[in-house]
Symmetry: C2
Amino acid sequence: MGTVDKRNNLKAVFNPCAVAVIGASENPGKLGCHVMKSLKKGGYNGTIVPINPGGQEIWGLPSCASITEYSGHIDLAIVVLPAKLVPSVFKECVEKGVKGVVLITAGFKEIEDPVGEALQTEIRTIADQADMPVIGPNTFGMINYYNNLNASFTPEFSWAIKGGVSLVSQSGGMSHLMAFTAMRQNFGFSKIVGLGNRLNISFEDMVDFLMDDPDTRVISLYVEGVEDPRRLMLEVKKHRGKKPVVAFKSGSAETGNQASLSHTGTLAGRHEIYTGAFRQAGICSVDNAQTLLELSNALATCSLPAGPRVAVLSGQAGPGMEACDACESHGLEIVTFSEKTQQAINELLPPLALRSNPVDMGPAWYNPAAVQGIVRAVLEDDHVDGLLLLTVYASANWELVSFLTDTLQKWQQKKPVITCFSAPPGIWEDEIKALELSGAIVNLPTPERAAKIMSYLWQYQQIKQPVWSES
Amino acid sequence: MGTVDKRNNLKAVFNPCAVAVIGASENPGKLGCHVMKSLKKGGYNGTIVPINPGGQEIWGLPSCASITEYSGHIDLAIVVLPAKLVPSVFKECVEKGVKGVVLITAGFKEIEDPVGEALQTEIRTIADQADMPVIGPNTFGMINYYNNLNASFTPEFSWAIKGGVSLVSQSGGMSHLMAFTAMRQNFGFSKIVGLGNRLNISFEDMVDFLMDDPDTRVISLYVEGVEDPRRLMLEVKKHRGKKPVVAFKSGSAETGNQASLSHTGTLAGRHEIYTGAFRQAGICSVDNAQTLLELSNALATCSLPAGPRVAVLSGQAGPGMEACDACESHGLEIVTFSEKTQQAINELLPPLALRSNPVDMGPAWYNPAAVQGIVRAVLEDDHVDGLLLLTVYASANWELVSFLTDTLQKWQQKKPVITCFSAPPGIWEDEIKALELSGAIVNLPTPERAAKIMSYLWQYQQIKQPVWSES
């Protein structure tokens, strides 16, 4: 992280008392307008100071021509001015004692023109000399859901709910996509941070910071490339076992840009080295952004399985089979129940169905109490490390989810339960949401994805502590 | 299919003028109640005749004590009585000249008790002698979206929209799950058919029937096991190239039931033989139900790519990279544009971004006309066989999807366009739905899935005609 001052300043960036928007605007064709909207509509409680030489009032708030003119203190400056104006703005920020900057502006190192690279070096020097952390440039910004601080150009980020996952991402587009998906699946975030060009805040700085952040239970990394992978690994290893770190590394393709085509072998190899090193450092390395999101949410919600032995309880045979297929291909074991459990199930189900693991609870549709009894017996079984509970809505089983709520909530901290409750739009949604928000379940759209995420929970259980034979 | 009579009768089953529900009920604890609801609320236009010895009127319709008592003609009987009553009901149906049966009742071959197997043999003999096709037993039923016939116990099946995909499935649970997913993704169906125990209507009978069904563009099979795989392959091969057939075979796991554990090798081997044989017969074999649904919908919507050369146009760099990764791992080629196309793009985009393939259209956010120009130039490029178009909503690009509508609709029948337009709930939904319903795009939730489905379209293009060197 560099200095202690920079680290403390980063804390202020995420928890500011006053935020200035340098480049604030009321013109919806300007990003400065959307940033103002994000702050105001997101429900941020601190002082918002619009900075723009033009107007006297922006979005109903008194504005200043420059940050120097403002009489009070500013913790965080969000900068949305053209790149060439940024060096002088940075100098003003330093003079003003601003703790840190979210620099949304693009047009630095990422452009073809060498002017961009020079500008980035210039502003980095200014920021570093003052121990002033900068998120960006070339970023959508960041959101802290624990104080309703939406310091991004997308007001709709505020629609996601509060949760335990902090997503740190190099891709603005994928951060948006993951947030939108999370809104539909009731996944919550602690923070979403777009690193952009990483002027002086890198993945390792964020890992270091989030390991001590009380609102973060899981650190989720969307990585395109890292300048110093070794430092990132060391940072994670230092905190091994403290909080789960999940990472997806994109860029396995050799065609990302035409220029890299000639270096085919190198690039592909680099991707494998990344994912291998991630695993060694105790990072759960996943193969796509969807799994990154689903696994991060599961790690923030579920207890970890003590072993790979899974029970599959299904309201219909098909989803149970699909889950078993996926469990097996991902290294989980479809356990044999204890005699006591099996007996309990046999008493609750007629001999019409699969009654060993997987259990087809179909014949108990009209009898949610029997389903509840089966779920309870299986969760109490010492042979069972985790439960996959799959039920597809059909009119006859409409009561089922609400009937299971108490049982599932009682077990949430003891054994992981991943469900695939599937229903038409508008049905079961409230019941499922209540279970998700209380942390009793993680609900996923297919039996296959439910099984895959359970297997990753078990994988994390295995890698979170270093082992003697680490090779 | 057996006899010509049975084939003609099957046609009447899907297009009946009058339907009897044998076991109709008003008690929501009975499946006969839900079947009545499905027929009535689903908007079926023909005559509905509830059969129940108890009442005189059910759901506001005059009922009969038995089908024999009804004076008019009946094409389709939906039977929801206990298994032991089914043989005598079948005899009545034959006498009455009923064309075919949907037999929802369970308790036949699938139960442990040998009584079930005997009953199934008994009713099969009755049905076969009369050339009476029977869907089931042990099924949720079937739905024909082209005449609003919901002959299932789940009224909500009617919430899915009309489309070109006919799903024939051995799993009731997975049929429900796929239909519910389809509702959220605007995928439509022609028919959904639950085969259940396949008394005398098998996968091959359905393939034979659907190949001639004018409302079916794609045949989608969810297979757990087939008695005579060779017959199924021959049936598909006979029609090779006429309509796409997509199949998912579940049951790769060895743990589906404990009894099969001792036959591990055999079972696993059988699964591979299935998928290999599928491909040889010209069936697109996929690896999960989600892909089965998404690919079937894409085949019903998109033209096929003439080759593997794909253009990736993205509103943000990250989703473009993710799509390229997936394209490459699935055997697609990120094409080099023609000089003319590249020049057009260079004129429309500032030198701030990736302008070769993949193209990051981010800098053109405020200028949807430029995005439209790029999309048009790329679609006109003879080097491009298919387009992946990925854009994540951010407030500044809110107009984008509606601006692209005309261009995309113009190209729909020439080159496949698969999109990943992603937005918060409530945003872009109408615009995306309009594009989907007009058949201009298939919209998928992640860039990765968009790329995967494009790769399968190319795979189908390659396997739809037999090749000389088939081995």
